[in-house]
Symmetry: C2
Subunit: 236 residues, 2 copies
């Protein structure tokens, strides 16, 4: 029985307005009391909704001031290249080296696919990340065609695939699993990253779980960590 929870309705309403930039990052939400009037409820319920958004990382609260909309994208615990998003120091560029296209699943993927996924075809695209005009990360991406249509790279919101998912499709990252290996660069990867064959490379296999049922994003990253190590931080 899909029970309607009032706090959940409020939570989803606010979340949608954040995702669609009606409440842009950095701005303050209406006060708790204003939401009470708007939804005909009490602060207890509104605060419960805001607490959930807090846990999901959409907002932060400031005592005596209000609830501020956060910049989305610092996925807690997610691996990120040192300097990424702290983009003042480095110039980060992304080039799509293989446009999204429909292919068969690649056996490279180390995570077991669901039956739904196996029965579907697969959308694949490849990107290379540059820092200071030097290639640092080679990135292969896959997802099931029956869960999400192919998206042309020139339609990416601000060039970001994840931002596109959030703002255009209202899909959020719920979690991820990763496997990390240190390997020697193959000929192909060495060429694409401009390094020596056999140089030590960090290989990351990753599966993102999303808020859309049956949609997982699979990634296969090769990182040249000699100059730009991978960073990862998280807090409880």
């Amino acid at each position: 029985m899909g029970k309607i929870k009032k706090y959940h309705q409020i939570q989803e309403y606010i979340k949608k307005r954040i995702q669609t930039q009606k409440y842009p990052p950095g701005s303050y939400l209406p006060s708790e009391n204003e939401f009470c009037v708007q939804f005909g409820t009490t602060r207890t319920t509104v605060r419960k909704a805001l607490d959930e958004l807090l846990k999901e990382g959409f907002i932060e609260k400031e005592h005596g001031k209000g609830s501020k909309v956060l910049e989305r994208g610092k996925y807690l615990g997610l691996l990120s290249v040192k300097g990424f998003s702290g983009s003042t120091d480095y110039k980060v560029k992304t080039k799509v080296t293989e446009e999204p296209k429909i292919v068969a699943w690649d056996p490279l993927i180390v995570f077991p696919l669901s039956e739904d996924e196996k029965s579907s075809q697969c959308v694949y695209f490849q990107r290379v990340r540059y820092i200071d005009d030097k290639p640092v990360v080679l990135e292969n991406n896959w997802y099931a065609l029956n869960a999400l249509e192919p998206i042309k790279s020139n339609e990416f919101v601000e060039g970001s695939f994840f931002k596109t998912l959030s703002q255009e499709y209202l899909i959020e990252i719920m979690g991820a699993e990763q496997e990390l290996r240190s390997v020697k660069a193959s000929v192909d990867i060495a060429k694409k990253l401009g390094i020596a064959v056999g140089a030590p490379i960090l290989h990351i296999s990753i599966r993102f779980r999303t808020s859309r049922p049956n949609l997982n994003l699979y990634g296969d990253l090769y990182c040249n960590t000699t100059e730009y190590p991978i960073r990862n931080s998280y807090f409880l």
Copy 2:
């Protein structure tokens, strides 16, 4: 001004009893109403305390049943070797190769030390983790002497340094930052891990932040990921 928050007192009371095994893992806490009587308060306040413990990962709640004490140690987002703690598949052993001793800070540490830490001496110990009797991880550890006394390895609770901190010193991990690099094995590391010199090795520099002010734990890990990749998962 008495900034004592009632829910925080209850939260700390329950946390201490969990850490000292008065409420052992797997057991159920007293019901919310029992805590209400015990602390002379209402369910709203007790539930706030339990919500905090939920967020900290000490308990989980089961609708209609109660609040269950969780096994501590699956630090969200923490890197762990595949198979670690899922110890049914693999035999994991830890050998302390260098007993805790007082030394000067090692320049290997990539994180900036606080003034407090720099002015203190440093406790160092080294461990090697084995899976199926094969060495997989070489681990250097440091922390400031003025923040925590040296602990002999034979006093570790169940051989675990983190369990010792939690149960004997009531110190919890609050978060961590990591830097990951893929490097070639040096002569020393190759010997200790039983691999070829120059083999690709995952180098992890990590700083744990703890609930004790001024106490950070610094780690420097070298992982042979060819057979046992590093795993990392997290969920929102």
